[in-house]
Symmetry: C2
Subunit: 414 residues, 2 copies
């Protein structure tokens, strides 16, 4: 008899009908002979509504009191899910994060789990009870209620699966699984049956719709297989797991495009040591997260540095770049927010050449100019003009034949 952790997101428990549907899924897993721990998020828009309430009484609510407030969202959900399971005739009991001993540090609204006491959960599971745990929350050493930040319920689910040595952690959400590309942009995109932790981390911009990086990193560390699947259908989703031999034969797993970055270039930087350090030190001081960085030196001993930042940080980054330009005596600063970043990801590309070439050729054939390139061991990213984003995604998806079944999806070995 195995233990399975099942997590239901906000849309999966938004109303009574969906709560009943979630309860039925849980019961089905229980009836199959499994012990089941259920982790639930706040219903639908509850968290946003609670935040609105807070800002009605305070411009700057204390994070401790925000956690006190927000944690009620999940508490409502767990009680309702337990009642729904009872209504189906099965034993269930709900617990807050504090009640099952999810102990965190004291960084309110972004706490990290330090320890989980499994005594109470194990006791109930051994009695044959389905255990419902509030996601997103814990308590610190003084029993102050804390929350785990965005995607916190996934973290709760994965952490419980890790510490309870669960067979699997099911993440029920509003998508069918992980696709080779966003199916809204690439109709022929194919659902992946498996993907590795590293790939899903690299596909962050795609994966972010499904799970936050933090919970995937946790799953990777403790080797918890995650099954991402739809709460609205019975079809199999995507298994996120550690890479297997067969996965390495698949060169590219997915393509993704994001338009949420802007590009800033500082031109004519005197080419002496330490200039890059100055630039990125100043940006870090302003809390600007830099993604891609490229630098090249022109003939007259002047360097150009280009980097991308998220669009929301672009204004601050530009201001900082202008200031740095003055300090280091660079020539000019340009910025462009009409860019897109196209990435191909695949653990298989480590063992294969020609991936970059195939990607660049596909773009060249379509006369799409590449502005920046950056690579990691399992990812190649190109910055292109924003207007080409969707077309570029489709041609690269097609070039790697990602709509075909995986065995056909190999580039030539060189």
């Amino acid at each position: 008899m195995g233990l399975i952790v099942q997590k239901f997101g906000g849309t999966s428990v938004a109303d009574a009908e969906r709560i009943m549907a979630a309860a039925q899924r849980v019961v089905k897993t229980y009836q199959a002979g499994n012990k089941v721990v259920v982790v639930v998020s706040a219903r639908g828009q509850t968290t946003d509504e609670l935040i609105d309430l807070a800002y009605e009484v305070s411009d700057n609510p204390s994070t401790r009191e925000l956690d006190m407030l927000l944690s009620t969202g999940e508490q409502v959900s767990i009680a309702l899910v337990a009642m729904a399971i009872h209504a189906l005739g099965y034993p269930a009991i709900s617990f807050t994060g504090g009640q099952v001993g999810i102990i965190t540090d004291s960084y309110h609204t972004k706490a990290r789990i330090k320890n989980i006491s499994t005594r109470r959960i194990t006791e109930e599971l051994n009695k044959g009870t389905i255990v419902i745990v509030a996601g997103f929350q814990g308590v610190d050493a003084d029993y102050n209620i804390t929350t785990l930040g965005r995607g916190g319920s996934d973290t709760t689910a994965v952490a419980l699966a890790a510490i309870m040595k669960a067979e699997r952690c099911d993440i029920f959400t509003d998508v069918n699984g992980i696709y080779t590309a966003d199916p809204r942009l690439v109709p022929e995109a194919r659902k992946l049956s498996r993907i590795s932790y590293d790939e899903i981390l690299e596909l962050a911009s795609m994966g972010a719709q499904v799970m936050q990086s933090r919970s995937i990193e946790f799953a990777k560390k403790y080797d918890v297989p995650i099954h991402v699947r739809s709460s609205f259908s019975d079809t199999e989703g995507t298994l996120i797991c550690k890479e297997g031999k067969e996965m390495e034969d698949i060169v590219v797993s997915g393509v993704t495009v994001t338009k949420d970055e802007a590009k800033i270039t500082i031109r004519g930087i005197p080419d002496r040591p330490g200039q890059a350090a100055i630039i990125f030190h100043e940006l870090a001081k302003k809390n600007v997260n830099v993604d891609m960085i490229i630098q090249n030196t022109s003939a007259n001993n002047l360097a150009d540095v280009t980097f991308t930042v998220s669009k929301k940080d672009a204004k601050e980054a530009l201001k900082t770049a202008e200031k740095i330009k003055e300090e280091i005596g660079a020539r000019e600063v340009n910025s462009d927010s009409k860019i897109a970043k196209l990435s191909v990801v695949g653990i298989g590309m480590r063992g294969h050449c020609g991936v970059a070439e195939k990607m660049f050729s596909a773009l060249a054939e379509e006369k799409i100019n590449i502005q920046m390139i950056s690579t990691s061991e399992i990812k190649i990213s190109c910055v292109i003009d924003e207007s080409h984003a969707e077309r570029a995604l489709r041609v690269v998806h097609h070039a790697f034949q990602l709509d075909k079944i995986p065995s056909a999806n190999l580039v030539t070995h060189h």
Copy 2:
């Protein structure tokens, strides 16, 4: 520096504006040099909305899960009140019932407080912090969340005031205080500046609009002065306290009328011992609460028993009475739900005669027939026809000159 407990009911924290007003009251008390513990109820209709949610997923929700659900209402309120006090620039911290160690028994939805650990509250008060505690809730020995039933926030406030030896417990509500009669029915009704615990307990049907009997019993036991006052104005309310010498000079404190009872009569009961026991044992078995009981014997050795029950229990009571009639061989059963119960209450009537006479005369002058009479040491109740209820209330209020200042409000000593 004294300690004052201030309790705000649901209407007093219904929206952001009222929460700010409540916060201002608390701060004013704090600025006056007091330590302040604030007890808060769920906002406005929150509890009813949560109950509706429960019944959407289950016809018969488990009481443990109901408590898990309902306790979130107060948790939302305490966070918002703490934020509001912060916004005014004062230190405040919110706690759930469990966090301040309000330990109850395990009777979910109607738990009783067994113990309160004051350590955490005292620590924060000594730091100069305003402490906000969620009303209505506690935890049992296993840290399951419990709720205290109707009026539970009052119980929390009074219990905290008792154990912390507070100077006073302020109950902020939507009425100005306790009146000699319901001001909606008797425009000349006068607000009482003081009333004894015993009187307010007898005036239950009037007092119920303000506080539940249970919290008043608690206040009486621990001698906690309660100041019932409006959260919408600065006028003094009514102090509920133990009776003083001066209070005994006031014969009658208030008059009240209620239409929520029905009368049932079993006629022609063979007059032998044990018949009354059979009747009220059967009613108790059906969970029917009986209020007034009168019995008299007619010439032919047959007795008539009349009793009143709350209107909601009338149908069940009538059915039971019919069954009893058959069993004991009584003649007939009548019922009448068009009745009103008029009561005068006052600790002073213990030392004075003529109260009953004055009440009966006032009704007789108005040709209002009295159907039943029942008396306690500090209360006289008459059952009359429902159609006379408001008129009877006014004439009796006038007869005892309750609109006049208390010193003029004495009946003749016999």
